[in-house]
Symmetry: C2
Subunit: 120 residues, 2 copies
């Protein structure tokens, strides 16, 4: 499968974007979620560095070019519908612009824990 064949098998939303989940390859931690258009996917698949489309700035965003917190590609998978990517990375420094390693650190919501032995 070529890169162009892979991209043509993806389903982008009405805005031309799909979500990319970023998981740290060494630790399996989920670091962040960001958005890619076809060109961002192409750059990610072919350059070894992760590139997104910034919805707030309306421009391509190669992670780490400003912050130094680069993401190197270890592997990319699509989901069963082809409308979400899972990008496994080697993360340099903090993935989150707030300085935490993951964007999900220390942001726990109150949730009832489900137990299959108690809840149907």
């Amino acid at each position: 499968m070529s890169v162009e064949q892979a991209i043509s098998g993806l389903k982008f939303g009405a805005d031309g974007l799909l979500p990319a989940i970023v998981q740290e390859d060494d630790t399996d931690r989920v670091l962040m979620l960001a958005w890619m258009d076809a060109e961002a996917v192409r750059r990610t698949l072919t350059t070894g560095r992760v590139t997104y489309w910034s919805r707030s700035r309306n421009e391509y965003w190669r992670k780490g070019d400003t912050s130094g917190h680069r993401q190197y590609v270890r592997g990319v998978e699509m989901d069963c519908d082809g409308d979400t990517l899972l990008v496994r990375v080697e993360q340099i420094g903090a993935a989150c612009h707030t300085g935490t390693h993951s964007c999900f650190d220390d942001r726990t919501l109150p949730a009832v824990v489900g137990d299959p032995r108690e809840i149907g």
Copy 2:
């Protein structure tokens, strides 16, 4: 923080939805991504079972009610922007409707692996 306070701190898209990444608590595997509106988040936080909004069927979808492949909540975190959730679950059976454990199984795209020692 109450459940309603938590929900009011979330940022839903123009369609009233946000993406929820689902990660298996025991293995750290990323299983799937699906969508929630405020009510799906409320049900997920308060019942111990994960509920989504189905964009294709336009209805609430409590994972496993049809398939038996239930997801029990272990914890829920939001990201730094409050526009993505990470739901850690105990997964019964296969998360993917195709029968694979994760929706990302066996769907690898061709990607150049990046090496910080070689690529700037």
